[in-house]
């Protein structure tokens, strides 16, 4: 599913350059639920961005579902993001003037689906996250947990191979966090591959595998006993 070899990435900070990822090797199979952990500045978000084709590595190989991700132009990158990946962000990143259903339907619009088909699929996924009744509500009318559910429904709508979650519970209280994590576990049970970045130990323990980063290298990579919710 995911094959990363000797991945390097540095950022230019004025005169000095900041080496963020120093040779990352990572392999993930289909159906895994991986937590990437590390303190801030460890490079975990950069890694997730490169996996999400939002950013490009300086060197190293990255193969996603058998497709090599390298030297993509913007258009190709957009197509791959649309086909392969679903994003869930800490701050939800819903479009504020679109209602829940329209937000979920947006990736389908970029897939070129017809309006009716988009709406049907969007409603299906909203139902899946339990928010069918809230379809016509704007994000500002939803609670944090509901917003994240809409975001998850949106990430699922394009039926991605890989779900990427960047601190999905970072802006939520404990009860809502567990709620969201439970739902992600359920998705994983259905076979969805999930990659999750977090700095919270208890959230990481709800995944099946923890990859720990420090200063741009993987210091630990272990399969754990998943804490079920």
């Amino acid at each position: 599913m995911l094959e990363i070899k000797n991945l390097n990435k540095s950022y230019q900070m004025g005169d000095s350059s900041l080496h963020v990822l120093k040779g990352i090797d990572l392999h993930a199979d289909s159906g895994e639920m991986v937590a990437i952990m590390g303190s801030s500045g460890s490079g975990k978000s950069t890694l997730l961005n490169i996996i999400g084709i939002l950013d490009e590595a300086d060197s190293g190989d990255y193969v996603l579902d058998g497709v090599e991700i390298k030297n993509l132009n913007e258009k190709k990158a957009a197509n791959y993001r649309n086909q392969f990946l679903g994003f869930v962000f800490q701050s939800f990143n819903l479009i504020n003037y679109k209602n829940a259903m329209e937000n979920v339907a947006l990736p389908l619009y970029y897939q070129g689906l017809k309006r009716k088909e988009r709406q049907e699929k969007a409603m299906f996924h909203l139902e899946k996250v339990g928010l069918a009744d809230w379809a016509k509500h704007l994000p500002s009318e939803l609670s944090g947990g509901q917003k994240q559910r809409v975001a998850i429904a949106r990430a699922l709508a394009s039926q991605p191979k890989l779900l990427l979650a960047d601190e999905p519970t970072g802006a939520l209280d404990t009860a809502t966090s567990h709620d969201i994590m439970q739902f992600l576990q359920q998705l994983n049970d259905e076979g969805k591959t999930i990659l999750l970045v977090t700095h919270e130990e208890d959230i990481a323990k709800m995944c099946k595998r923890i990859v720990r980063l420090r200063d741009g290298i993987i210091i630990e990579d272990e399969y754990i006993k998943q804490v079920r919710l």
Binding site: D55, K75, A78, Q90
Partner: protein, 409 residues
């Protein structure tokens, strides 16, 4: 290809961000409204000047005689200059390449009576060419012709208002009207678009008037039109040449301003043309300026919009939006706002012109208006302007990196 979904996206973005739309639209509305009003007023000013030319052919020259103001060639000052038939034929022959039409005029006042109806009118005795110089349009019958002149026939051509005054019936042609107790046969009725007074004039053959009212070959005034293709500068030169020639014939000092007066429409026209072209250039400059100001304004707002929507654009890109689709959203939104609000501004401007135009007569502005052609041109210009205004912002938007846009602030 028409993409309904793209338009839906754009309409949603416009209608959900009313203030933003209003701000960008407002500047364009105002700019175009001002331009339309300005253009209309300039048009009105031009109309006033053109109207001042009256209903005569625009290439006319009038030549009048007076008394000499200077002594010379053995003559004393204050000598009366009298034009005659010989002068007319001299001018006709010597300037035949440059002159289109030429006619003499003898002016009299007459009392006309027909079956008990009686009224005073101006009488003009003329050559056949007069019809084309004065732009008289015949409603019925014919104008004075060369045969009338040769035979000094007692025929007249009357104006539309003369006919309405004197005739109760519709039959006019072939009837006889008495002018100062001499009977003349009516052979034609004419109208003149220029003004009503021109329709209260009675025309008769030059030779007839000369025989009946003085038994001489005197002429009061000579009117002529020059060939239009010679251009204004040559026409002004021609006027001077004719004036010099007449002064030579009558032994008038060249510097004498009063003995011969040549009124050349070409000099007026050249002044008005100059004025009009200066006005046109001014309007063009101001118009272009307004348009450029509008483009800069919209461009500014679009840059702001792109900045404001950076995060949204980042989200869209993360969800798989191609750069071209981001570009299209910004471009079409700008074109839409610019052209619609520009059109509203244009309508407002035209509306204001329509509403207040008629009351501007006293400020030398006649019928201020904007032509359909200009409206069409402006619409096209606005669409192009909207495109130009949004081009750079759209490029910038399409290059936004999703990772930067999505970074939490």
């Amino acid at each position: 290809m028409f993409d309904l979904d793209l338009w839906r996206e754009i309409f949603q973005s416009i209608s959900k961000n009313k203030l933003r739309t209003l701000l960008s639209g407002g500047t364009v509305i105002f700019a175009i409204m001002l331009f339309a009003i300005l253009f209309g007023l300039a048009n009105g000013l031009q109309n006033t000047f053109n109207e001042g030319m009256g209903g005569d052919a625009e290439n006319t020259m009038f030549i009048n005689s007076g008394r000499t103001s200077k002594a010379g060639s053995g003559n004393q000052a204050d000598r009366k200059i009298q034009f005659d038939n010989e002068l007319l034929s001299t001018l006709k022959n010597e300037f035949k390449d440059d002159i289109e039409f030429i006619t003499a005029r003898v002016n009299k006042n007459v009392t006309a009576s027909y079956k008990g109806e009686k009224n005073n009118y101006s009488l003009r005795a003329v050559n056949p060419d007069h019809q084309f110089i004065e732009k008289s349009e015949l409603i019925s019958g014919r104008f004075i012709n060369q045969r009338d002149l040769n035979l000094s026939t007692k025929v007249i051509v009357i104006g539309r208002l003369v006919k309405e005054d004197l005739f109760k019936t519709s039959k006019v042609l072939g009837e006889y009207i008495a002018l100062n107790n001499i009977q003349y046969k009516v052979v034609g009725v004419y109208q003149d678009i220029g003004d009503d007074n021109e329709e209260r004039i009675i025309y008769m053959p030059l030779t007839t008037a000369q025989r009946i009212y003085g038994n001489n070959d005197f002429i009061d005034q000579i009117n002529l039109t020059y060939n239009l293709d010679m251009g204004l500068d040559n026409a002004i030169a021609l006027g001077n040449k004719i004036e010099d020639r007449i002064k030579k014939i009558f032994n008038i000092e060249k510097s004498d301003q009063r003995a011969v007066r040549l009124d050349n429409r070409a000099s007026d026209a050249s002044q008005i043309n100059q004025f009009n072209s200066v006005l046109a250039i001014l309007v063009l400059i101001i118009g272009l300026g307004t348009l450029i100001a509008g483009i800069v304004g919209i461009s500014n707002i679009m840059i702001f919009i792109v900045k404001e929507r950076t995060k949204e654009i980042g989200i869209r890109k993360a969800l798989g939006a191609r750069p071209s689709s981001i570009q299209a959203i910004i471009l079409i939104e700008s074109v839409l706002i610019t052209s619609i609000s520009g059109y509203v501004g244009l309508l407002l401007g035209i509306g204001i012109l329509e509403a207040y135009g008629p009351s501007l007569d006293k400020y030398f502005i006649t019928d201020p208006s904007v032509s359909t052609f200009l409206v069409a041109m402006a619409t096209v210009a606005l669409i192009i302007a909207g495109f130009i205004a949004a081009y750079v912002p759209a490029q910038r938007a399409s290059r936004i990196k999703p990772i930067i846009a999505l970074r939490d602030e």
